[in-house]
């Protein structure tokens, strides 16, 4: 029930405003980046203090699996970008297909991650396990940061995938279309962020030798 004089303000908070929602998303991504930024600082400090130990420990990681995941994420970033173009051009069906592909890629990423992690845990390298406890402190820190940072990143993958699934359903229901696709764009922005963080994590943990 509405009781008002019928005055409509030109710039209303209840208008649909694609610019605003994108600006909001960018600001949010900024905070996400800073969240990981704090961890990058800690990583940097301890890497500088324990260069040898970090090096030794990093040889334990499986570069092949890490590289596969990098490829998976890069491809998924491309497909989500394509799905935005598709919906812009009014092709909702194609957009949905590409989004489904992106979600599938996120699942592939998580499965590979699962195998990686379980191999480490199997070797007793998770913090608190016996092998881990006997490691020199610097190597322990490496694995600790490895689990912390890739774990937090995997959590972001899951959130991003849920976000994309929501977008898929909203596109199906016709809520998102060529005139209103800012949610699709935002899902894309978020996904690119998740991708970009991985682009930093991968060399930091797997490649620096």
């Amino acid at each position: 029930m509405e009781h008002h004089s019928g005055l409509v303000l030109p710039n209303s908070g209840h208008n649909r405003d694609a610019e605003a929602s994108k600006l909001g998303m960018w600001l949010f991504l900024f905070t996400e980046f800073l969240l990981f930024g704090g961890l990058f600082i800690v990583y940097m400090v301890y890497r500088m203090l324990n260069p040898e130990a970090f090096l030794t420990a990093s040889y334990q990681l499986n570069v092949t699996l890490g590289a596969m995941n990098t490829v998976v994420l890069l491809v998924s970033s491309m497909t989500i970008a394509m799905s935005i173009t598709a919906i812009q051009q009014g092709n909702s069906k194609r957009s949905i297909q590409l989004l489904v592909f992106t979600v599938a890629a996120s699942l592939v990423f998580l499965v590979i991650k699962y195998f990686e992690w379980s191999a480490k845990i199997h070797h007793g390298l998770f913090p608190g396990m016996d092998v881990f406890n006997r490691l020199p402190h610097g190597e322990g820190l490496f694995f600790y940061l490895y689990f912390f940072m890739t774990g937090l990143h995997a959590l972001h993958i899951i959130i991003g995938a849920i976000f994309i699934v929501v977008v898929i359903f909203r596109t199906k229901n016709g809520l998102l279309n060529a005139d209103n696709y800012s949610h699709t764009e935002n899902a894309g922005l978020y996904w690119h962020l998740v991708d970009m963080i991985w682009i930093y994590l991968f060399p930091l943990f797997y490649l620096i030798h």
Partner: protein, 534 residues
């Protein structure tokens, strides 16, 4: 159509659910007001209890450990549940959209979500009372390594602070987008009221700083749960690293507390002096300057905890630099008062109280920012006096000033002004009696965070505790008077009770749901141009 038949935002819908699920920025602001006030009162009771313990040397009321838990709980409540959200979440939510001439914030649903997150975080913080070894006893700073080792519920308190950070981020994000996208046509950036400018700068700090504390607190949790030494030296960690990460957030957080208060003062002074603010642009830009420089001074909390000499000197110099934009504001406010036609009303009293107390707080801050004197004063009661002057005497007073200022606009009612003036005087005297002696006992060398002290500190502590009783009396009188205003016959308030000039005074009191019943008109000569608009 007769405007008076318009329903105000209280009347459009009724019932508890219409409030706790409302996306109206005015209702969200009031939800925040009621919850923040409730926690503030809990914090005050804890503060008064501590003062009672400190009335005499020796143990009076509580064990050392209980005392430690009480000051931690007091600090956590006052910082995370009261002062950080206070002005932005209450008055920012309520008035920012109105001042910009729009009908809501940019993301109304996120706004409601932020209040819910706040409630969840608050309940998490309070839940530490109920289980295990009780609330944290580390101090609100959660310094490692103690926070890693103590058996009290640090994990839960820290997670609560983490969750509360989300609420702040959502509010800040909302305000930035609102200011960029929803200003009414003709409201350029430099026609915005200074309160909006202050919120703008604050929101950026919230966005830039909060994630760092978030991740730092998560690292504490992980260290406690997994037992890997990031911060605890006995298992190979570095406690100084924790302090850096903590203060990288928590120093800018000081400006999250202070800048909105500056904004409030910049609203109150023009209204009650009936003249334009002196140095509008200087005030607006100094907020941004403070926000910027404020990022590079965190080390002044760590002068005594192990940093290189060069780093200490740089941090000390930077700290002195922040004083410049802050002083610019104070001089502009005083210049605004000069030759204004001053109308002494309760809100103005709070603004004057703010200027006086904030100045003591700021100057004592310079004493602490100077390397040589800080080494002597670090972790003494001088620090406790200093930050209460800034946060409570400054931001707290601005908060209550804002409450008295916008009261007729929000509720369309009025409190008793004589009682409000009396309550202010008692509150003001109580405040200074409570905290000024702390500056002195600090200079004498009394350390903070102890439930006991040497007999030579007795006198200042006694005076201080008496002060806490006076202050509590003033507070009860002030709040009682505000609450009494809700009852009894409704006076005729009109649109512009104080003769203000910002847009909220053009609409009805209380405002209708969509904020305006007719298009707001932007003052031609800028936001505070009284001469050309009246």
């Amino acid at each position: 159509m007769a405007a008076t038949t318009e329903l105000n935002f209280f009347q459009v819908k009724k019932g508890l659910f219409s409030w706790i699920f409302s996306v109206d920025h005015k209702r969200v602001g009031l939800l925040y007001l009621y919850s923040i006030m409730a926690f503030f009162l809990v914090g005050v009771i804890l503060g008064v209890l501590m003062r009672l313990e400190l009335l005499n040397p020796g143990k009076d009321l509580m064990e050392a450990k209980t005392y430690n838990q009480v000051f931690t709980m007091h600090g956590v409540i006052m910082i995370f549940l009261f002062i950080i959200p206070s002005i932005p979440a209450v008055f920012g939510n309520f008035f920012l959209p109105i001042m910009l001439g729009t009908d809501d914030v940019a993301f109304p649903k996120l706004n409601l979500l932020s209040w819910w997150i706040y409630v969840v975080g608050a309940l998490m913080a309070l839940s530490t009372l109920l289980f295990g070894d009780g609330p944290a006893d580390t101090g609100w700073t959660f310094y490692a390594p103690y926070s890693v080792r103590t058996g009290t519920n640090v994990t839960m308190s820290v997670l609560a602070a983490f969750v509360l950070g989300f609420a702040n981020i959502l509010t800040g994000l909302n305000f930035i987008v609102t200011i960029h996208r929803l200003r009414t046509p003709g409201m350029t950036f430099f026609k915005m009221p200074l309160f909006a400018w202050a919120l703008y700068a604050t929101s950026w700090i919230q966005l830039l700083a909060t994630p760092i504390i978030g991740i730092t607190l998560l690292m504490i949790v992980a260290e406690r749960v997994l037992g890997v030494g990031l911060f605890d030296p006995s298992i190979g960690g570095d406690p100084i690293l924790y302090q850096h990460l903590f203060w990288i957030y928590s120093h800018p957080a000081v400006y999250i507390m202070a800048l909105p208060a500056f904004g409030i003062i910049s609203e109150l002074l023009p209204t009650f002096t009936h003249r334009t603010i002196f140095g509008y642009k200087a005030i607006a830009f100094s907020s941004l300057a403070i926000a910027f420089v404020g990022y590079f001074v965190w080390g002044h909390h760590m002068f005594t905890t192990g940093m290189s000499g060069a780093a200490r000197i740089v941090f000390s110099i930077m700290t002195f630099l922040v004083a410049i934009p802050t002083a610019i504001k104070v001089f502009n406010w005083v210049a605004t008062l000069y030759k204004g036609s001053i109308d002494v009303q309760p809100p103005l009293l709070y603004a004057l109280g703010f200027i006086f107390q904030f100045m003591i707080g700021g100057l004592s801050g310079l004493v602490l920012g100077a390397l040589a004197s800080d080494v002597h004063l670090h972790d003494t009661y001088f620090v406790v006096g200093h930050f209460h002057y800034v946060m409570f005497g400054g931001t707290g007073f601005a908060f209550f000033g804002a409450l008295h200022y916008w009261y007729p606009k929000i509720w369309g009612r009025m409190y008793n002004k004589t009682i409000a003036n009396i309550a202010f005087v008692i509150f003001f005297i109580g405040f200074n009696t409570l905290y000024f002696p702390m500056l002195i006992s600090g200079l004498m060398g009394m350390p903070r965070r102890y439930y006991d002290y040497l007999p030579e500190f007795h006198l200042p502590n006694m005076i201080s505790t008496y002060g806490s009783w006076i202050l509590a009396t003033g507070l009860v009188l002030m709040l009682g008077n505000l609450i009494a205003g809700f009852f009894g016959p409704k006076p005729e308030i009109g649109r512009n009770y104080w003769g203000g000039i910002t847009l909220e005074w053009q609409t009805l009191s209380p405002p209708p749901l969509q904020n305006f019943d007719k298009m707001p008109e932007i003052p031609k000569g800028g936001p505070y141009d009284f001469e050309n608009n009246y």
